[in-house]
């Protein structure tokens, strides 16, 4: 992996980009994971990673405190995903599986229910849910990523969970009980 990066970099022949790429690469799994949680598609998640790298690269001079690179680039990535979702029109698709006995169907339904519920949570709340429950970040860390006060993050978290609850209401009590 590292050899490939170095090889690519040698061809780019830009001294500044080497350390930059290494820094992004150190966060790549986290960034890809977040993008995947938003777009649920490998190609799209990779494109978001590329787009975030692009935006971070052209804005790299604006990062004064290099210690804050990780939250900074994560925030850029989240913004890319939000922009992409805003741009994209998700259309009506066929309905999830019936609730028959097959295990395949039940597991898939639960996932679909959650996907749909998450899709309907406001983007600013959803980003907090992703960072907390997917990336296991603390409220302080989330505040650093989003550049918001911790109190705001806490409020967004509660509102996000509340919206999610509203969406999920009754969603799993659907087996006739």
């Amino acid at each position: 992996m590292e050899n490939l990066l170095e090889g690519q970099w040698a061809q780019l022949n830009e001294e500044e980009a080497g350390p930059f790429i290494e820094r992004v690469a150190s966060q790549k799994r986290i960034m890809y994971g977040i993008a995947y949680s938003y777009l649920r598609n490998e190609n799209d998640a990779l494109e978001m990673l590329q787009e975030a790298t692009y935006r971070a690269w052209i804005k790299r001079k604006s990062l004064k405190d290099t210690e804050r690179f990780a939250p900074w680039v994560t925030r850029i990535l989240i913004n890319c995903c939000k922009d992409e979702l805003k741009r994209r029109k998700q259309l009506v698709s066929a309905e999830p599986q019936s609730r028959e006995n097959a295990l395949v169907e039940m597991t898939s339904d639960r996932k679909l229910d959650m996907q749909r519920a998450l899709d309907r949570v406001k983007p600013k709340y959803r980003q907090v849910l992703v960072l907390k429950y997917y990336q296991d970040l603390t409220l302080t860390e989330i505040a650093a990523v989003l550049g918001k006060p911790e109190g705001t993050v806490k409020t967004w978290l509660n509102k996000g969970l509340k919206q999610l609850r509203a969406q999920m209401k009754g969603g799993f009590s659907d087996d006739g009980q």
Binding site: L46, L49, S93, A94, S108, R120, Q177
Partner: protein, 470 residues
């Protein structure tokens, strides 16, 4: 009874994490260097262009190496994607770089192939909204409907999913209802892919397609009572539907863990690929489901892989519905990575709820939780090793009816699904677990209690590929 949404979120993200973890290092690296290269090309001075073009070409070879499909690995053909990108853009499905989720392949390719026929005059106006059905494609199993809403209300509105009924309002769709979509001012285009609830020959000649438009309220799960309902009649050409698609009698037996699985037939048509599967009654294991079924299309080791879009139960037969690429005639095959099954002699769970003791269970992953009480049985299904990465098959289900020590039958008092939690690994080294709580209804039942397992997350991994078409 409600589920703790934090638990569900964690459970959901674990599945996402398992999927996200499958991406290769090389692809991630290529995306990162691509992000930097994208900028650099724009900043080049003209005299460096040829040098860098050569370097870029060499780099492209390096970057593309990881993407060259390995035998049997799914890959998306860039050219094929470009070919249908116009259709995808028309449908508003494209993301960055013109890509779209292959769950939409069926409708995109149907449009590209000219299979979605225009519908003349299917327009209705009401309360500042115009609902128009633009195109449909119907076959023996289902229908694709392409429709639009013109919104003059000045507000962004919520559009409930298209429902299709007979003249008396009886739904004709196998499973109806989905998350509403939104529509801003002007025209928004949607599509719906539906499955017939039953034999298509029993459908009335005229169907009624209805959408509900209402104000956006994130707390409403159903359209509000003041929603605007717009209904349009649709006439089906059943003779044409009968001729659409092809049915392939397969009757192919294959074996996983010495269990016989029968791929009975395939219906390959405009709305999807429908594969009907059965399990041999002589099997020694109870099969709860197939692990990771994927429809592979392609040849020469270059394949596109499609996940299951929907499953249907009909006459005791399980049908898997996959997306179809209507622009491709490449061979199809079904890939399965295993089964979820238990020996038929192991589908009983016998417990002593007084002693908080499991007397008989399929394996030792199931534990009695200290949270159990005499009226409430709480079981932890511990996740070990690769349990989390079994494509989400981490769910146990037991029948609602159980038998006490004197042979008396009882019913569980709660929904199993409503009382499923995920418990993280503990500081004392306990594995993470799914926690199931069952309301027994009363205490002091004669022990032991016997439950029947309707599913158990016992994944048996064994990859099998079955040819469907050549």
């Amino acid at each position: 009874m409600t589920v703790n949404e934090e638990t569900l979120l964690r459970e959901y993200f674990q599945t996402v994490s398992a999927q996200a973890g499958e991406v290769s290092e090389a692809k991630l690296n290529a995306a990162i260097t691509g992000g930097v290269r994208k900028v650099r090309r724009q900043r080049l001075l003209p005299r460096y262009k040829w040098t860098v073009a050569l370097a870029a070409a060499l780099a492209a070879v390096i970057f593309l190496l990881p993407f060259i499909p390995q035998t049997g690995e799914p890959s998306r053909q860039t050219e094929a994607r470009n070919a249908v990108s116009n259709a995808a853009a028309y449908l508003g499905l494209t993301g960055t770089g013109g890509s779209y989720d292959n769950v939409h392949t069926t409708v995109v390719s149907a449009l590209e192939a000219g299979l979605l026929k225009p519908v003349e005059g299917a327009v209705i106006e009401k309360d500042g909204f115009t609902f128009e059905i633009e195109r449909i494609a119907a076959d023996r199993k289902g229908m694709l409907v392409l429709y639009s809403l013109y919104n003059r209300s000045g507000e962004k509105v919520e559009v409930a999913s298209l429902n299709v009924t007979d003249k008396d309002g009886k739904p004709l769709i196998y499973s109806a209802g989905s998350t509403p979509q939104t529509a801003g001012a002007g025209t928004t285009r949607f599509y719906s892919q539906i499955l017939w609830d039953g034999d298509y020959t029993a459908l009335p000649d005229t169907l009624y397609a209805k959408i509900s438009v209402s104000d956006i309220d994130p707390h409403l799960l159903v359209p509000s009572s003041d929603a605007t309902e717009l209904t349009l009649p649709l006439t089906l050409d059943k003779a044409d539907m009968a001729k659409t698609g092809k049915e392939v009698q397969l009757n192919k037996n294959f074996s996983i863990a010495d269990q016989q699985i029968i791929l009975e037939n395939a219906y390959i048509s405009t709305t999807g690929v429908y594969l009907t599967v059965d399990y041999d009654s002589g099997n020694t294991k109870e099969i709860f489901g197939l692990l990771g079924p994927q429809l592979m299309q392609g040849s020469n080791s270059e394949y596109v892989g499609y996940g299951v879009r929907q499953t249907m139960m009909s006459d005791g037969r399980l049908t898997y519905v996959f997306p179809v690429d209507n622009t491709s005639s490449a061979p199809l095959k079904l890939r399965i990575t295993g089964i979820v099954a238990l020996d038929k002699t192991e589908t009983q769970l016998i417990v002593d709820t007084e002693q908080k003791q499991i007397i008989k269970a399929p394996d030792n992953r199931l534990k009695f939780s200290a949270q159990s009480s005499r009226e409430r049985m709480v079981l932890d299904f511990e996740l070990k090793g690769t349990d989390r990465a079994t494509n989400g098959y981490t769910v146990m289900q037991i029948a609602n009816q159980f038998v006490d020590g004197q042979g008396q039958k009882h019913m569980l008092q709660n929904s199993v699904w409503a009382d499923l939690e995920f418990r993280e690994a503990t500081a004392t080294g306990e594995n993470p677990a799914y926690r199931y709580s069952y309301e027994l209804g009363s205490a002091g039942l004669p022990q032991p209690l016997t439950f029947t397992l309707l599913s158990y997350p016992n994944a048996i991994k064994e990859r099998v590929e079955v040819e469907i078409t050549k």
